[in-house]
């Protein structure tokens, strides 16, 4: 069940109505049932996996607490949990990739093997709930979190439907207490949630989905294109993936607010970052902080020698790339981000320096351009496709006007569609620009009522008329 489907349009109000109608003590049960129904609407069989991960981690946390004075026992339980949960993830997501990579490696040594591959569908959201589960168990192991004794509440925490399939990857300390807490209906919180959802739908349906048509057309047949068309769709993909993923996060956060639950912010205007480091502080924050807390810092973080620090950075980013997908392109994408951070680190003299004015604008543009070209590896199906894009994107630039014109001709973008993209893109850009300093939705709440309602109606009409119809397109991050 996609957020952008009519099924969800019925599901959410029904769950909302029942949630506030039933007594507090039954609410976790309702959220649990709703979440599992939501997940099973994709594939009933894969509910076994999430249940398996939930049961293993639930008992592991309890046993870790029970053996809190026995470090060896705690370690064994933790290792067992990590192997079990990551094992499921490995089998479903990475087995074929490693099997094929191993066969290719052997081929380099003239050893011919046939790759053993599994024909398994990747369960939706497996990377997200696995990481949420792991953070819970590791936190219990570290003693920063008490294990949850109530299995139902714990299972609801792992499967809470707004963030189940594409995050934000919640931390125990933030979400679990909120699921247990007594909630009174809060008008401000609920209306804020709806406005956030509307904004998320605007980004997903009016920008991401419309750009996806051109991005998919070119990247699904990349060798048929060259020149400016490749740069155009790379730019479009840069906008598409942001609007798609941050749109999902906004809808998830907004939907959670309807139940009185605040999820963590996952994006903070990432394309207005003046450095790669800042970009990762603003992009997919729940994942970046997860890697910081459970990979980078345990490796030693920056409190080690410079060389070791850079190795830690590279390892973190390579793993982050691999988290996104079982393909060398994702590993390369992660690696170049890691490398960029190392280079940035080497050349940055004043650690907390904040550029201003033109310098800021230049650095934002530079960071954006870097991220844009790095996304080529993320979107391309293979390394050779990415190389083709880079080696052909400037083809024909000698005749600049013709080069630019031909790009638009090649992707066959209607001028009205381009104009509508420019308008929606500008609205998104302004929202993000001001979001760096203020909460735009709260600011809008304080404006004149007529102005506010005009804005709400306008955005509603834009969503109704400019969104793709008859096709409920999946969110890009569902594949992870």
């Amino acid at each position: 069940m996609l957020f952008n489907s009519w099924q969800f349009g019925i599901f959410l109000p029904v769950v909302f109505a029942i949630y506030w109608a039933v007594p507090q003590k039954f609410r976790w049960a309702l959220l649990f049932a709703a979440s599992y129904y939501f997940y099973m609407s994709w594939n009933v069989e894969y509910v076994v996996l999430i249940l398996f991960t939930t049961i293993i981690s639930y008992f592991a946390a309890i046993f870790i607490e029970r053996f809190q004075d026995n470090t060896a026992a705690k370690k064994i339980i933790l290792t067992f949990t990590l192997v079990s949960c990551l094992g499921v993830l490995f089998v479903f997501k990475y087995f074929n990739f490693f099997s094929e990579s191993f066969v290719n490696l052997m081929r380099a040594f003239s050893i011919q093997l046939h790759p053993m591959t599994l024909k398994l569908l990747l369960p939706v959201g497996i990377s997200f709930y696995t990481f949420q589960t792991l953070s819970y168990v590791i936190d219990v192991y570290r003693g920063t979190v008490k294990p949850e004794k109530h299995f139902g509440i714990y299972a609801t925490f792992i499967s809470f439907f707004p963030q189940l399939v594409a995050g934000p990857i919640e931390r125990t300390n933030n979400l679990l207490p909120q699921i247990k807490a007594h909630h009174e209906f809060n008008y401000e919180q609920a209306t804020y949630g709806l406005k956030l959802m509307t904004w998320g739908f605007f980004k997903k349906l009016c920008i991401a989905d419309n750009l996806a048509v051109y991005v998919d057309k070119v990247f699904n047949d990349v060798y048929a294109y060259k020149g400016f068309a490749l740069i155009l769709v790379t730019f479009f993909f840069t906008i598409q993936i942001y609007c798609d993923f941050s749109g999902y996060s906004d809808i998830a956060r907004g939907a959670a607010k309807l139940f009185g639950i605040d999820l963590m912010e996952n994006f903070k205007s990432p394309y207005f970052s003046a450095s790669i480091k800042e970009f990762w502080n603003r992009w997919h924050i729940s994942l970046s902080t997860w890697f910081r807390d459970y990979v980078y810092i345990p490796l030693g973080g920056n409190r080690v020698s410079k060389a070791r620090h850079y190795i830690n950075l590279m390892i973190t980013f390579i793993v982050s790339g691999l988290w996104h997908g079982a393909n060398w392109t994702f590993i390369i994408w992660g690696s170049i981000h890691g490398l960029a951070q190392i280079i940035e680190n080497i050349f940055t003299r004043r650690k907390n320096y904040q550029p201003r004015g033109l310098e800021w604008a230049f650095k934002v543009l530079l960071t954006f351009t870097f991220c844009m070209f790095a996304w080529v590896f993320f979107r391309a199906q293979s390394f050779s496709e990415a190389v083709y894009v880079f080696s052909n994107m400037f083809s024909g630039i000698g005749s600049l006007i013709n080069y630019l014109h031909q790009g638009f001709v090649d992707i066959r973008m209607d001028k009205f569609l381009f104009a509508s993209f420019c308008i929606t893109f500008f609205v998104m850009l302004m929202f993000d620009y001001f979001s760096r300093e203020i909460d735009v939705i709260t600011t809008l709440n304080n404006k004149n009522q007529i102005l506010r309602w005009f804005a709400y109606i306008a955005i509603g009409m834009i969503i109704i008329f400019l969104s793709q119809k008859g096709v409920a397109t999946e969110f890009v991050y569902f594949q992870f």
Partner: protein
Amino acid sequence: MKKFLLKILIYIALLTTIMLSINFLYIHNKADIDSDIEAFANGVPDNIQICNFGSSHGLYGFNYEDIEKKYTCFNFALSSQSLMYDYRILLNFKNKIKKDSVVFIVISYFSFLGKTEIEGKDFTSKNRRYYKILPRDLIEQYDWETDAYVNYLPSLIATPGDLLKNILSLKLNKNNQWDKEADAPLAYKDAQEAYERHIVTDKIDKNGERIYRQEAFNAIYSMINLLKEIGARPIFITTPFLSEYTDAIKNNAPEFFSEFYSVVNEIVKNTEVKYYDYSHDKRFRNDYSLFMNSDHLNRKGARKFTNILMREVLGFLE
């Protein structure tokens, strides 16, 4: 909670009212019917004596204006129409086709190539137009949501340009592409693109082998059987092309033509239906004034071609 629900209801009511008003304006002001289904929208006549099916090669390749006074003619072709939809349209309109009528089935180079119908490019957008033409049981992957959009809320699936134009009743200059004339440089470029689109993209597998659509073969045999049941006379036709188009294929895939003709000859042998190939016809292949691009006749070319067909193929009607 009451205030919250009330405001949501007001918001939904306002949005719905504005949306329905715009939709009403859109339908009310819409002067031009989608060019694709214009012929169907004007009504399929009864007792059709001459008609044709096919993709855009059929849509733009036939112009019955010189014989319409004498015979009841109809063009069932639509852009990118597959043989499967040719068959479904025939199923739906079979009662309109007269006994002893002549039915041209246009065979293009790509007619039997490609993945399955639903895997094809632009399947969703191309499939939508049949919601206005065919009953639901003949529509591939029918769904009520698309039906509602196409038949009741068309403004919601209109392109921004179309929406704006029709709401504001703007009269934008719309050149009829069928009246255009091709020229050498454009035809060359267009032919290269058409070659990629028709013969290569999604039509070659990982091993470099051409992908053939079994469902297209099934459809053509079903069409022939049905036409024979009706008592109509089917004829296979390949429409004329500019030399740029056939040369693009010959130069890039020299083996293609022998493969194509062996497939067609097999069908001809099995069905005993006559096949007329005008794709290399000297009266057309170098005359830009008869084409709108490398592989589509323009209005003038289609008129000439249709008249030639009447003389050379349908002499018996005289």
